[in-house]
């Protein structure tokens, strides 16, 4: 495609130099912590999905089981699996998480200006990484899941037909809010909302709603990484809380009866 320059001394060789000093002395701390957090989250998710048969404790439903599709369809095996793959693949194909796991798990690169650990690199040109282009489809499906999370969060305030507030109700409510923030600050949504347009105003009478929507999402999108982390830990914490309730290891404090 691109012809290389033909200057004999300026061809593809490594410059015979480089500073001996470490690029960033502690560059490895971030990928190690991120890699460990993501790995633990994935392992916990797999445990919920493959080793737990239900996620309901009275009016609380664990986020991994929301919506309770397995029960509706009366599928006896892996009831969480029928839903959990959506948010998991949404996160796996997310532009923010890609940065994190490429750095942490593949060392490609582990940090900026630190040598790539992979000798053979194909980027996102081949399967499975080229499938990350389907991120928008996981976004579409995740919006459906978010709707059900809100329904289940509101159901968390329904204690046998009477309004009440338990710690679990609040956890589920914040969980739905954080997952909404994460989902609707997504790069794919930003693109679909208006990023795919080149011209917001040049067509007569074109409403500028998409321009305003794109701007709002662009602002949210600046914090997409933050929402990704907070929502991930919150989902995790909420699921652990509901699981401990189911196992009878803790009691749900009622803040309002």
């Amino acid at each position: 495609m691109h012809d290389s320059l033909s200057h004999p001394s300026l061809s593809h060789q490594e410059p015979p130099h480089q500073t001996k000093a470490a690029t960033e002395r502690y560059f490895w701390i971030e990928p190690v912590l991120v890699g460990a957090a993501l790995a633990l989250f994935v392992l916990y998710s797999l445990w919920e999905v493959f080793f737990q048969v239900h996620g309901r404790y009275h009016n609380y439903l664990s986020p991994y089981f929301s919506p309770d599709l397995g029960r509706w369809l009366k599928i006896p095996v892996f009831p969480a699996l029928w839903v959990a793959w959506v948010p998991l693949l949404f996160r796996a194909s997310c532009y923010y998480y890609r940065r994190e796991y490429y750095r942490a798990w593949f060392g490609s690169p582990p940090a900026c200006a630190v040598p790539d650990r992979r000798t053979r690199y194909t980027g996102e040109t081949r399967p499975p990484m080229v499938w990350t282009y389907f991120h928008r489809f996981f976004f579409y499906l995740s919006t459906v899941v978010v709707v059900f999370l809100w329904v289940d969060a509101l159901h968390g305030f329904d204690f046998g037909g009477r309004f009440g507030i338990g710690l679990g109700s609040l956890l589920l409510l914040v969980d739905a809010a954080l997952l909404s923030l994460y989902t609707f600050s997504c790069h794919a949504f930003r693109h679909l909302a208006g990023g795919n347009l080149n011209c917001y105003r040049c067509k007569p009478r074109r409403p500028r709603a998409r321009y305003h929507l794109w701007r709002v999402i662009s602002r949210l999108n600046q914090h997409h990484g933050l929402y990704a982390w907070i929502s991930m830990f919150w989902v995790w914490g909420t699921a652990v809380y509901v699981r401990l309730l189911i196992l009878g290891l803790i009691r749900d404090p009622r803040l309002l009866r």
């Binding site: 691109h2 320059l5 890609r98 490429y102 790539d116 690199y121 693109h191 080149n198 105003r201 600046q222």
Partner: protein, 259 residues
């Protein structure tokens, strides 16, 4: 220690000396002055100890993008990198040329390939000749792209180019920015998505965002240029639903601005 606390102190600085075939780091002593940047230190060495030291610089105000190099292994503009930041952390200062490009001499890299790529990119192609009428909403995001000073630090830090030497497959972040600027321009009539994917090689980028991290103009290259281009590639090649609803049509010619 305050900035003035470093005044007059003599500190060592290691600078790469050599060419594309051989070279080594050499130690020089520099007398610190308030507000001293690494470029000042390099010029101090040039004036006092090594008059043959080669360094490319021009404005000394982070506007021309000439003095891109690596300080302690990290791509930086020498004129924007303060010595006292390193002194405060008690770090030695090592200066080398940008690693991604061949070295001509000392701190001067050969960046001609970048200009070769720039010449290949199909130019802005409006439907009609100037004058143009544009609306602020339509050019808002293009302004960020036009802040680029072509220092090529993003090209230097990009691991696709730096470690894998894939300039023949991937144009690099600087030119993704250029392609985004042209592709998002409301008056440009070219359908650039196939070019972005095939010649530009956008699939090679794995969005690790180092280009944005080192950009001295704080341009969000990955967020605002590369990811939107990837989404446009997804529109074209990976979205059958969109095809179903809209048809696989070519980019329509822009309509004239509303009066």
């Amino acid at each position: 220690m305050t900035e003035d606390g470093f005044r007059g102190r003599e500190v060592p600085i290691w600078i790469f000396r050599g060419d594309g075939l051989s070279g080594e780091e050499r130690q020089y002593m520099v007398e610190l002055s308030p507000g001293m940047v690494v470029l000042d230190a390099v010029l101090y060495v040039q004036q006092h100890e090594a008059p043959d030291l080669a360094v490319r610089w021009n404005c000394k105000a982070a506007h021309c993008g000439s003095c891109g190099a690596e300080v302690n292994g990290r791509p930086r503009l020498l004129c924007k990198t303060r010595m006292d930041d390193y002194m405060r952390r008690n770090e030695a200062v090592h200066v080398g040329p940008m690693k991604t490009f061949p070295v001509i001499r000392d701190l001067v890299p050969d960046i001609r390939k970048n200009y070769e790529i720039a010449r290949r990119i199909p130019p802005f192609t409006p439907a009609h000749p100037a004058p143009f009428q544009l609306w602020p909403e339509d050019v808002e995001r293009l302004k960020e792209f036009r802040r680029c000073i072509e220092c090529f630090l993003c090209q230097d830090v990009c691991h696709v180019l730096r470690d894998h030497h894939r300039l023949d497959h991937y144009m690099g972040p600087r030119f993704m920015l250029k392609l985004a600027e042209l592709d998002m321009h409301p008056l440009d009539t070219r359908d650039r998505t196939p070019y972005v994917r095939r010649e530009g090689g956008v699939d090679w980028c794995n969005v690790t965002r180092c280009c944005s991290d080192v950009c001295p103009e704080a341009i969000a290259i990955t967020e605002n240029a590369i990811i939107p281009l990837k989404e446009r590639v997804a529109d074209r090649y990976f979205d059958p639903i969109r095809d179903f609803w809209r048809g696989r049509s070519r980019r329509p010619a822009p309509e004239p601005p509303e009066k």
